[in-house]
Symmetry: C2
Subunit: 286 residues, 2 copies
């Protein structure tokens, strides 16, 4: 894949931001705050920002757009800067090859969302607007924890029935936590929720799924993280999710199991056994 | 795969029904009525029936449980016979190997549902109850049309982003039609909806997905149906779905495209182009 000539690459923040109409923020979540702090005072208040990072800052439990706003420390009395999020099932290598895809743009600024929709839409990319920024951003972050679980099932050759059950029951957990945090349940049943969850659980390329697969095969977390050059967002997000679940008193058996496999030495097979042997219930999706 | 010794196979309907506590009806939908007509008067009114067929009778637009009830013609003044549906992401070959899976049992009879839940649940099968029989049965039928579309994308090598977008936008269509017909939207966001849709769209084994893949590669419908020994429920269901969409005035661009590819000679690539070039919109999931 070759970048178009019109794209210039720089590691100089001032050059990158200079004269920008719109800034796309694609920084691993645990580094987002530090990078944006360096931009404080360097970006006109009217310049919009779109975040495409999918995670939650472990220590503060904040979402990327919240981190960016805090780090920039814009004048609270001024007209607020348009900040939004672009999300959905969008594996980069497929987009780069021009394969068809869809995205969601969400922000508190309908005009800004419409502008981003028009900017990104093209023959192979269909962009929908959504007013639930909190839900879109949370869905993108939380689904990475379920993707680790999907990978674990792959590593154990558990099959499509198991992975599809995980997708549906994992979605119910995301929705319960998200709505407790103020998001709309509909967002989780749309492209940013179900759609992104499906790609992340089924595409062999996903970083979170790949980590899970290694764990399912018996590899240890530390070992795997040493061996990959990539940031696996779901690992830190799973810590934040457990804290959020406690704070908002939401029951999340799957995400708790992933956390226990990652950090408490739970054997993945025992984890599945625990989930399968819970009391037989009525279905509850939200 | 070998059937357990306790399972006896017969093509004698009277023998099959004689002394049965519970009957599982697994008949291709277009033949369900005829088979059950032969059972009229042969089954005590207290004997429950669970349908696992996923489709809609083309001429009447009725669901399998409705066909069974009509065909049996039970005394309307008697205590109604318990009839329910068992559905969810359950590829048979995986179940037969004891791989973990989940199902939904739904009926208008809570005690009957609880009994079926207890009967089928085991270490590798988790069964949830759901009171929305209409939704569970419709979800299982309608998803087969989306599965054909998923196969078409596979045949065209369109990628995971496209298939996940199809899953999310297809789910929105199922939900719109289902709720217009009296189902609960929550059912579509659960195991019988999202869960079954995911298996059907991603497992290489699915009959509907496989048909779609052949169409995506350029094969013709008639040719394919001649070459397979299986009933592909989604083909007839897509006819019923179009009629239902008109009757309930529900917009279903994806399912209409599948119907046009199957029966109106629409080229699959043109179909995708049409869907991708629709007016850019706000997301609406139900």
């Amino acid at each position: 894949l070759t970048l178009p000539d019109a794209v210039r690459v720089t590691n100089d923040l001032r050059k990158a931001l200079d004269g920008a109409d719109l800034v796309v923020s694609a920084i691993p979540v645990q580094f987002t705050r530090d990078v944006w702090k360096k931009a404080r005072g360097k970006l006109p208040a009217a310049t919009g920002i779109i975040s495409v990072s999918k995670g939650i800052e472990t220590e503060t439990m904040l979402r990327p757009t919240q981190l960016i706003a805090e780090a920039l420390g814009d004048d609270p009395d001024a007209r607020p800067r348009p900040i939004g999020v672009l999300s959905g099932p969008t594996i980069a290598s497929e987009l780069a090859r021009g394969l068809p895809a869809t995205m969601i743009v969400a922000s508190d600024f309908p005009e800004f969302s419409a502008r981003v929709q028009a900017l990104f839409a093209c023959s192979y990319l269909r962009v929908y607007t959504n007013e639930d920024g909190v839900g879109v951003e949370l869905a993108g972050a939380l689904k990475n924890v379920i993707a680790i679980a999907a990978g674990i099932l792959d590593g154990l050759h558990a099959g499509f029935n198991a992975k599809s059950a995980l997708l549906a029951r994992g979605l119910a957990e995301l929705t319960r936590l998200g709505t407790a945090m103020g998001a709309s349940s509909e967002t989780f049943f749309g492209l940013a929720g179900v759609g992104d969850l499906a790609t992340t659980c089924f595409s062999p390329e996903g970083r979170n799924r790949s980590l899970g697969e290694a764990l399912g095969r018996g590899q240890k977390l530390k070992e795997y993280l040493k061996s990959t050059p990539f940031v696996v967002e779901g690992v830190e997000t799973s810590r934040a999710v457990i804290a959020l679940g406690r704070k908002f008193r939401v029951e999340m058996p799957i995400m708790e199991t992933v956390h226990a496999v990652l950090f408490e030495g739970l054997d993945p097979i025992d984890g599945i056994g625990r989930l399968m042997s819970r009391e037989q219930k009525a279905e509850r999706v939200g």
